[in-house]
Assembly symmetry: D2
């Protein structure tokens, strides 16, 4: 039984951590922080979490929290996470940081995209990018996990085998992603109000979205050379889910069945990646509320292009579920603990 | 470890049984039937249930099934359930019937509302209406559970204490219910296609809905005399959830706080009923995917009326979750086993 | 060609006025005001209104506006409307006020429900409640129209004939209403953000909603004596539409067909009220974007209760469409001008 | 006043034709056909179209229809349209065919993609592809208009100037499209039922969708040489709207502002194409219910790629609205007649 604190627990990812951890036998939640909601019960903000009716939000007082927990989930906005992560890390705590602050290994790239300097380059060096399918062995030994972004998780898992196996040209990869609205977080914003989002569909952040360098960093790592990608996110009128449709020019003449076969072998041991049979494609609805990633693909022979589609729940495999998966790995728990739920359908 | 079969497993309630039971440590699914989908894998019909990729639909062959399971969940359409339930019951099996066939104790009432005779009056006598909050002691000893309808569950739980304590007049009770679309089942029907339901809202089955006699039967049992109610269901453009708004003329002068206090005491020991604090009202979203029922209420002093609002997930507490709860009770398992998940929000 | 100004044009009702008036041959929009958006183009706030790309929001400067328009649509929040209406009225302008400020004839009732005094009792006396189906003759002669609330429009039109003809007991009328989310206006509010509303359903304002006295005032006028009603609004995950389900105890023995017949005759000359055939009930989807009100009803013989269901689009017949209808009447235009569109379905 | 018949009027495009034409001063609907609904009133199938309560569906009896109308809208399924179009055409009638039967100029291509031969090659030669922005002059003189598909309209309008001006490489164009559910038509199909579509998102028809050759034909015409494209459609949980996100490698060094400038000039005279300002991108919600096409674009300098986004309402500019626009052109009416409505927002 480990003691766990959640820093930044009044947003959707914080609530989702609580939901998932409510089924974890080895975890005790000892603190949850929120500046704005300090003093309120968790159930005041999230009535659906009534198992936590005893839990009260407290301000993020680092000294006070230190004695309360062995492991910290950091669900703070980017930039706000930097210092607290550094503090707990240097005090010897284990940390899973759901913010973007420790994902980019190069502080200059971080500053370029996030428009704020990274002040903890030494700690940044210790962080491991927490995508278990790529970095499980490193995660096992790490104390600081940079939990991947939602879009990057969907894109990287979809492209990993195709790049690794040299099936597609790493120039001109296009990632056209579509996300449910919870990705924007819980906030008062006209643009995310019901009547603006419902019955609408739009692209946003074209060519400038901050998940771009994160995807490029990991794909470059796989390819062994620098990759630049086109990444376009879209907003879908649904609560949860990300579908990424990816396009790569084929370097070899292989047909769909053989690529799928390779993908299935590649991910065979992965508990949370399902490669679908030929002719079947992912649906965001089939992973809702679950930690699974679904992948389908097809070769367009007329254009010599490989089209890969992946689906995840942005709040689970794209955030809090993956964070718990990382916790399980670094703590030596069974990796799937508390993460085995089948998707909620319909 | 008990062996469980699901008869009629290609609809939403069948799939929901599988989803919930995937987290049950004492249950092994040994068979799932479907006439239309016989020979197909469960995952062909429900890709989200990939834990059951080994499971193949088979036709409902009663003799064959007999040896396969100790307990049968019957998720067949009404009328279709009658005979199979009778068969398994007389063979000494335990049964949780999710159809309407064994809910109405009076076969004449059944025939009046369902326009088909009840041919198994003897077995009908053995059935217990499976609303644990009302009939837990009887359920414990029963072999045949008539699992309640979704609307009745929401209405009866909301009205139970108010009628029991004589707070409201049992004449002129109005139950105005609103249900998500999964209540209609999985079927090819223009009227339930996306473009017809989305951005729409309508009443249906006004004054003739078949859940009426079921609600009346149970409320009459509580009151100790015949009750007739007005029940109007509505279709909400959402997947899951039932909200029932109920109106009763007050017989006593009590204020909201005192009634709420009584409700909280009344349901204090119930693991799945949450009575909300004054000023807070249920939201279908807060129970989605969970077995909980939320209840809120308020006295309208200007009109001397008690307004009660309840919320459940129609597929969980309104169907498959309650069925598993009943199974837990009759099998002597912990009643909450596999049912403890917090709602999926957002 | 009359000159028209819209005061408070940055909300949904303001935008809807512009949309509807874009098809009106006798109207020229000369000014649209917004304090927050002053200086911005209408199309900056509402890209869908590109016909108005020339129109710039200006602050509400009463003196300046005076010379610009013959008729003023006031789409300000309640309380904010009082003074400006009084000013334009006393300057001899024609006004259609979409706020609640001039709807309640008794200033004491206004103060009780809106928690702010009414400072213009003299002007209030001149206002006519702008429900043409009830008050067309008075509207024709009026210069100040208090445009009805959305819920009241749906409830009053549904109950009018039944009360007028003495079919139902005016005691214990229950109005259970369900509204799309645009009724809450365009605002930054977590509670109305997409992820909170979508896949949810809830009651709100139980026994305290401010449309209660407005409904009671008009129904009392019809009945010729004081009526108190139970009114419960609910929030539906859709953009537009109100369905009101209404319950009244029957005073006479009449069957559904005869009541429907009476309703059809009653509303025969009304261009925007459609009484549906027996067995057919309104759907919010069938009036979306249109100025029509649909009414269906049924007698529950088992309980001797009349159940009436009405549907309107809250932004059209429930707000801006009715406002244009009122303008047409007071200006002597054909009443249906710019209002003949069939609903947008699906 | 011309007499107009709609063949195949019980689907969404047929109903949408009726909705739009209800505001057309020069058109009288004299017949509407449906085999399945023959004998029923239009309002039995579409209660929102109550202006047409007098109109009864009749079977498609070609001889009988001949005398009834001057112009025929054909809204039949593909293949079913071939013969009837040929018949009316040879009898000298004017035809706007909303099916795919006369869109592909090469009958062999038609047969390859639609798996059925084209039996009227002579009539096919007379058909003009009815995208007014490309072929207005030909449309003016034509008697048979092949009304474009919804996806092609969105894709071609977005890419037209970029290809025409040689801004992008015509190899490797990627068209990633997302459509609301009404594109699938009105039908009883589990896959399009509310609970399957809602809260889901998926790609379909990858590399095999039948709109591919139609897009290729028109883009090839613009480029003056054969183009093959990647086209991936997706299903969005909303009623109406198509967003196409398009990617092309840049051939020249131009920045976003200059390309936008060129686009604005290119489409300057077009009544239904709106090129948005830099930094603003289309939203399906902003064109809902209208005949407008919105286009936005951005250069990704890091990858030297032009990203173009277009939005239309699939039932209006993508089907029935464009059909009316074509009718207006061939009949010599003002092109925008009955098509000027601003979008319904929210």
């Amino acid at each position: 039984m480990i003691k766990v604190a959640i820093c930044g627990g009044s947003g959707y990812t914080g609530a989702e951590l609580l939901r998932i951890l409510s089924g974890h036998p080895d975890v005790e939640i000892t603190a949850v922080t929120s500046e704005k909601s300090a003093g309120k019960r968790v159930t005041d903000m999230f009535p659906h979490l009534h198992k936590y009716s005893y839990l009260i939000y407290e301000p993020l007082d680092k000294e006070k929290l230190l004695s309360k927990a062995d492991l910290f989930f950091m669900a703070l906005p980017h930039a706000a996470s930097q210092e607290a992560v550094d503090y707990f890390f240097k005090k010897g705590k284990k940390i899973v940081d759901l913010s973007a602050d420790y994902r980019l290994t190069d502080p200059a790239v971080y500053e370029e995209w996030y428009k704020t300097p990274h002040n903890y380059a030494d700690t940044l060096k210790e962080a491991v990018y927490g995508l278990p399918e790529l970095h499980r062995e490193k995660i096992k030994k790490a104390n600081l996990i940079a939990n991947p972004g939602c879009y990057p998780t969907s894109a990287i898992l979809g492209l990993y085998p195709a790049i690794k196996e040299g099936i597609i040209d790493i120039e001109n990869i296009i990632i056209d992603s579509k996300s449910g609205t919870s990705g924007a977080g819980r906030k008062a914003d006209v643009g995310f109000s019901y009547c603006e989002v419902n019955e609408g569909f739009k692209a946003y952040g074209i060519a400038v979205h901050r998940h771009t360098p994160e995807i490029e960093q990991e794909l470059s790592g796989i390819a062994g050379k620098k990759i630049k990608i086109n990444f376009t996110p879209h907003l879908v009128p649904m609560d949860r889910g990300i579908i990424s449709t990816m396009y790569g020019k084929m370097l070899k003449k292989i047909d769909t069945a053989d690529i799928l076969d390779g993908y299935k072998k590649f991910y065979d041991a992965e508990p949370f990646v399902n490669v679908l049979d030929e002719g079947i494609f992912p649906n965001a609805k089939n992973v809702r509320g679950s930690n699974y990633c679904e992948i389908g693909l097809k070769v367009n022979k007329r254009t010599n292009t490989l089209i890969i589609v992946s689906a995840i729940d942005n709040l689970v495999k794209g955030a809090s579920g993956q964070a718990v998966q990382n916790m399980n790995i670094i703590m030596g728990f069974k990796e799937t603990t508390a993460l085995g739920s089948q998707a909620l359908f319909p």
